[in-house]
Symmetry: C2
Subunit: 293 residues, 2 copies
């Protein structure tokens, strides 16, 4: 199976599981359930859940045991997009090629929809089968701490507060780590934990995730400059418009690409303890570096 087929197959696994986990659209009150499904079934790349499943695979686990954490990290990611897109934050009209949640359902409903997706992440995650090493307590702690005010939310706060300011490289790395790398890393870790991974394998995936996450964010910021809104499915050129400090803004495109390539190499190095089983993770990391959307 080539990588594109693998990614499509795993994304389809996630979509099928998500459809089972989420309340049906007609369930009352149907507005919120329709809105939740609109945001979730929107043709996203499913990067985080696929990383979760690939990590479970790399640790010798069953994919079926990692579907709950895979859906949970996607729910967490989607809620953060819905809230970040709100007029009071990044004020965006377009996401994944379609009107943002608040443009379709109104601002109040979009706030509630994000809240519901966030809460649903925990409803779903707690259904992960316990392994010898890890249970509900470890799964929930992992996701909640990553989603909290010190990581994901803290990253968005620093991002908003950094607009119009010139940030140091260190501050930029801090924001990217909190906003992006943390949830990518947690996606991998939860997949590994669902596969009862040894602490050594968990540590390897943690290192992989933190390098990959930074590389991913740098590429994302490069694409914001070089690509069109049509290709991205979200408004291009937003960072420049919001006067955000980014790698391409401070280092230029060529040097930013070089840093992303170095980080990807470091990520691949970190995978070594996992051996051949990590082939899909290697392929995904390499693919993300050269992606164009």
């Amino acid at each position: 199976m080539n990588l594109q087929t693998y990614l499509a197959t795993r994304a389809a696994d996630v979509d099928a599981a998500m459809d089972k986990f989420l309340p049906k659209a007609k369930e009352r009150p149907s507005t919120i359930h329709t809105a939740m499904r609109y945001c979730i079934f929107s043709g996203g790349k499913r990067l985080r859940p696929v990383l979760c499943l690939a990590a479970a695979d790399a640790c010798g686990g069953e994919i079926s045991n990692a579907l709950a954490p895979a859906c949970a990290v996607e729910l967490m990611h989607t809620y953060s997009l819905v809230h970040d897109d709100l007029p009071a934050m990044d004020d965006d009209d377009l996401r994944r090629g379609r009107p943002t949640c608040h443009r379709v359902y109104g601002e109040g409903m979009a706030i509630l929809c994000g809240d519901a997706l966030l809460t649903e992440a925990f409803i779903v995650l707690v259904q992960t089968p316990a392994t010898k090493r890890y249970g509900a307590r470890e799964f929930i702690t992992e996701l909640a701490r990553t989603g909290g005010s010190r990581k994901l939310i803290g990253g968005q706060v620093m991002d908003l507060e950094g607009e119009g300011k010139s940030l140091t490289k260190r501050e930029l790395v801090r924001i990217h780590s909190a906003k992006t790398a943390a949830l990518l890393t947690t996606s991998l870790r939860l997949g590994a934990m669902a596969a009862n991974a040894t602490p050594a394998k968990l540590a390897a995936l943690t290192a992989f995730g933190s390098h990959l996450g930074l590389a991913y964010q740098i590429i994302d910021d490069i694409l914001d400059v070089t690509q069109t809104t049509e290709v991205l499915g979200k408004t291009a050129g937003k960072d420049h418009q919001a006067e955000k400090s980014t790698y391409p803004a401070s280092l230029g495109l060529a040097r930013s690409r070089k840093v992303a390539a170095e980080l990807t190499r470091a990520a691949l190095d970190a995978l070594k303890p996992l051996g051949k089983k990590a082939i899909r993770l290697q392929e995904i990391a390499t693919h993300l570096l050269v992606r164009d959307y």
Copy 2:
């Protein structure tokens, strides 16, 4: 110890525990942590956490084992207030006698602050010591389902969608159950679970909570009509202004008071299986019926 002293003592227990659980205000990014503490340490009545502790007490458990769920339900409640007060929802300037979160920190930060309080609820709850009957899986399932799109959030959706419409008594009970009674009941249940309560005791507290929750909401709606903004610490007369269907609006004050008294009696009846140990819960239910703020 009389009831007022008991309530004050338990509220102080909750505040001390909350201070330990929450990130310090100066921890980076400090804006979000300052905002979280502004919302939490605002002189609220701490009804839900006190019910949680009193339920643990009534089931023969240690208060110290119920502090994590007590703080978790207060975090969940506070997040819902912060988001409900936003301009896109109930648009309120005053809460617990002080400016609402978005009035102080801006709308974007208030959305993120609510998100962080919600996430923190799970960070804290998962720290509850497991008992023979209940562990992280049961605790998280209980709170997440109550906070989700079918209960707490669903209730707020139905409430928003019901504005300007005349609702049936059945619809009204459905909204009150989802918006208010569910979290009161979960507060009691989590306290009982932290005390390793038998299924019979848990069922008794569930019945108590659902009656008490409806009574509480009816009294709340009565006070919205009869009290001043000063006494309430939140804008009085909001329901009438937003054309919300409420018990006092549809049945009048006198009949609404009668219904609240009947529900309180049913709540007290439900406590019988707990015997004398439930004395504080009895006192609280009776006190809530005659409260004036």
